[in-house]
Symmetry: D2
Subunit: 365 residues, 4 copies
């Protein structure tokens, strides 16, 4: 299946940037889970460009719940969310004008797949705008998980070469605060320096990337499958579908490659009658299955491909080499906006694996 | 689905390390594809521990094709491969003796999931031995891809802190040679230094990790889906199911996080009448879809968790803290053996996406 | 997955009868297929109640294509269709009043599954109204199949005990005409008698059922899988999801149980250089795979469960026995309206199996 | 996916009639479920031809559990069952001799799909012999369901035009007895007349068909999905994969087509504090979801296609018309043997839907 992901809890995504609307269908929720439009709005706001470091454009993202919610609670049948597009293509806009492919965008790959029938306005189905529908669906999943004492926190671990402080895994309030921030960092000063670096990149008509770090707390041990639906596999599947993510690592990740086993292994101890590991280089997953420690991972987010410097490219209409002079409004960084998307897909994925393990009613219990 | 992966071409894995046999069922192959038992044997040999840097144990890995092959060609119906286990548990071996969990192994997570009913001998269903069945199935896929001029090459990009030379993407013969090596490196001297480092780790009763780098050449442009079955998503799903893999990055991966857009973007040009990119930081994938450039990725392989130094742990039978003194034979490094597994799962995944795109008969054409 | 069906071409259904809207997402279409809003409207009209034998209510079924179509052609990305509901529940309508379960409706089963959180107005997610979204999606699939010379024809083989003439399989124009009729019968006089019987049932505040017979012509031989995705299995999966269908048989179906092999077997002959069978008791499928003959099947449609006679039932709010006196508008027969739904799900299913077999671009070729 | 079915509990089937072995992989079982080799053997015996009405051939069906069972209990990892074939094709047996397609067998359809690469000996992958592996896997599922007080009973409702007495739904012992019989009938005399009719057909070098009727008792209400994984849809999917099944109906099935709503509807009443229906024309399913009444269905089994009378056919090697004179041993009826297969696939399907609903540990609870 293509634009649908999940087994017990599944999300289906549709829409194009400049079509009538984008949307998502979230299926497999238990009946009786509270759905807060306010919580959806809050997550959508996190994803919206805002302040100095985003584009100037305002995307109000009004959404409508078409189904699956009755009197503020899930019915147990598919929850459909639609977000109308405010800037739609005009009917007479043609697909056959000059078409300089944007380097490191999907333009050329999409042309190879869709033979020119793709709706290319604003990126079409590939537009980052579609993540708004994912974020809306994920907001519902995040709330359900919260009700089961499972929380997800993501911060910008690194941006433009500047590191944030580590995630304060022992401080639930600080972690929860990250989920409210539109530029989620632990160290405010580091965050300010990152924002300055983003503005500097904009000055240079350039862009920057970064690394998002996520922790999932409260997950029961014993979730995931040895082959092939490991917790890492299923999370990575969804994370790599987030635009601009080009790397995913769990626990100590790539750094493990340079460690010896005696350094990398996580010793087990008993604490408060519970078996825990005293380090967490494994990122909470062994053999594909959660071990009760926080599930931690990092996503590499490449710099925004849309930059205003002239770029060598090929015109897909003529097949001839040309130079791209990009216009319009584009973020010099999307790493902070991607945080809301990573939280959303993480919530959707984790909820699916939990529903497979504990049944469909569990999440409402 | 749990131990089955793939949509048009699917593999199902079964078995435990010390049960009667392990095996795989490979379904969805076109009829009429040549199946070479020699090619399967060659890939199995690559995965086997051998020489100085592996364990001393010999695993002959004799296999049997139970179905799906007739007169040396696929029938189009499921191809089942079984590899009998030579060292089987004795019937009276009990599950209830002392059970010190091996740190950073699946022991504890498996206990949480299987409540003590898991077969723990030699790692049971979590044993790296199961990758033999994956490698055997992957060998068939590799051969089919070769017939379509699609090749996969993996080298040890880094081991114990020592770097190999880059993959010689312009030299098909050198790439093909990697697929024959049990310790696949481009720079022989680097390889020797890696092997020395592995032996040094063994001396210290320790282990080392590394990074595998893979290139898939010859893939048509236009394969993969924007959401959620991106080429990166589906590959990562399978790669994270390979034991010890804790990180996956495509193209320049995590390094992209520190680049600016002007550095990271891959310009498009026309070469020999074909649209190409002049750099490949994207790793051959944009918007989830192949762009015709080599698909490149790197996997972080953690150091072998089985080391001979005493380790703090908890006995899962008594629930009490204890010290693990591991016995038996264990590799001080598995990164080289994992190369065959990465090739196998890459071949299986790529073949599945191609069959979805071009139909089930395509691969035999 | 629950409300999604299909592997290469998949449909996702959402909505409740009295919520804001119902809809479907159709994913996996090739790019470049013509999408005719007129064709969708025509199929929706067939499903609408009309004339003497339907309810008096008018359902205009205006629909909107939210995505996946650009300049009248599929883009290759998900096609979302939304049909707003004209009669929506009022916000203050409560779920907790008297709730006499309608016998042989989903009311009681849904209560057991959704614990009272289901939206029960007008049947909610179980409403036959959701088939409108299926029919709209199916209309797109029907058109695509037509472009590949594959046609689907359904008639009311039997209604209220009255038989229609057999499907004129040799007369393509007559078959095509059935796809335009809102009461599709071969023998007009039989059709009139059926309509009279429906009106007589209405007089008696009762309802009638019937049998739909379908033929799929032009399907290539060699489509379907031996285990478990046989052509019959996948079609039956979808057909049994059509409300009121309680039986499905292929070819001679249940009548085969009383035949001897010598009567039931379909002899093979060569006609015009092509291998055919001289009878078609197998309904075009052997071993789960099409044999090139018309795929024929029949669906038993039970009488409308909503009747105006008083019925013994239980109030789901109080748990006490009560008598149901149904109000509102309800069809005394739905067999004719179900014909459009059967055509739709057949088209969706067949298209999926063809895309799996021949690849995703095939349908636009 | 092709030869794999199920979502939480999935079965994968492989093998050919005259290859080294057939087998099944059963994945998704909870850990700790008892596995009785005796119970597997008993079900395999039911499927074996025996006595007067079967073929004279003895198929001992020795099986081996390769994985997933440890000390008589499921481990929770895939359970692989292999059944070696005693009569294997010789290596030099060629595929290119005369090949008169057997009418109403898969021979011709398979040729269209597999282009001549199929292993055609004894029907290859299409052989009824593969149902032995399904029956073995189903035996494990049947036992697990029994532990949850869910039972499945199938009888030959009709054979060669002779009817059995109805299923004694109120008599658990009588139902359980059916599961032990190789010719399961309620009315012994009717059974004897059926066996006589089968022998008479053999005398005529012909074959007969019949109807199997099944009841699933003890299923909780609220299992199944409205669209598209209705209880009926998923069961029918599997039932139509059973060789020779050409029709499936639930509850009163096709007979409902001739009833009025007032006759067909099942009134609800309260009995012993539980809501029940006083009739069960719906077969225990409304809106796709179980209602707590017995789930009942009937399968039409066509007469054995292998008969000894000369038959018109086409030689697939030469493409010319010819006459088939079948040799070898073939049952004049398989309806009784199919009973064990129907029980098996019903158990597998029901267990999957229950695991989706209640989680993976439920079945061991």
């Amino acid at each position: 299946m293509k634009n649908t992901f999940g087994q017990s809890v599944a999300v289906t995504l549709f829409g194009e940037s400049h079509g009538p609307a984008i949307g998502a269908v979230l299926d497999g929720l238990a009946p009786g889970c509270a759905v807060s439009e306010e919580a959806i709005r809050k997550q959508l706001d996190r994803r919206r460009p805002q302040g100095n470091t985003g584009t100037h454009r305002r995307e109000p993202d009004p959404f409508q719940l078409l189904s699956g919610v009755y009197q503020g609670k899930t019915t147990g049948t598919p929850l459909a969310i639609v977000i109308p597009n405010t800037s739609q293509r005009s009917a007479d806009y043609e697909n056959d004008g000059a078409y300089p492919a944007r380097p490191s965008h999907a333009d050329f790959a999409a042309r190879c797949k869709y033979h020119g029938f793709e709706d290319r306005h604003g990126g079409g189905h590939f537009s980052g705008r579609l993540t708004a529908a994912l974020v809306a669906a994920g907001a519902v999943a995040l709330d359900i998980l919260k009700g089961k004492d499972i929380s997800i926190a993501t911060h910008i671990a690194r941006c433009a070469g500047i590191d944030d402080a580590p995630l304060p895994l022992e401080d639930p309030a600080a972690l929860a605060a990250l989920g409210e921030m539109s530029f989620p960092v632990v160290d405010r000063l580091a965050g300010e320096r990152m924002e300055e670096a983003i503005l500097a990149a904009r000055e240079d008509r350039d862009s920057v990337g970064g690394i998002l770090e996520t922790a999932v707390l409260g997950l029961p041990a014993g979730v995931g499958e040895p082959w092939f639906d490991t917790m890492e596999s299923v999370l990575a599947h969804m994370l790599f579908a987030v635009p601009a993510v080009k790397g995913v690592e769990f626990g100590a990740g790539f750094a493990l490659a340079d460690l010896r086993g005696s350094q990398a292994n996580d010793p087990l101890r008993v604490r408060d009658g519970k078996i825990v590991t005293t380090s967490n280089h494994s990122g909470g997953v062994n053999g594909g299955i959660t071990n009760g420690m926080p599930v931690t991972f990092r996503c590499a987010v490449k710099p925004t491909a849309s930059i205003f410097q002239p770029q060598d490219t090929v015109d897909l209409t003529t097949g001839e080499e040309t130079t791209l002079h990009l216009k319009g409004r584009h973020d010099p960084a999307i790493v902070h906006r991607a945080a809301a998307v990573v939280d959303a897909v993480t919530a959707l994925t984790v909820l699916d694996l939990l529903a497979l393990r504990y049944g469909t009613d569990w999440m409402a219990g």
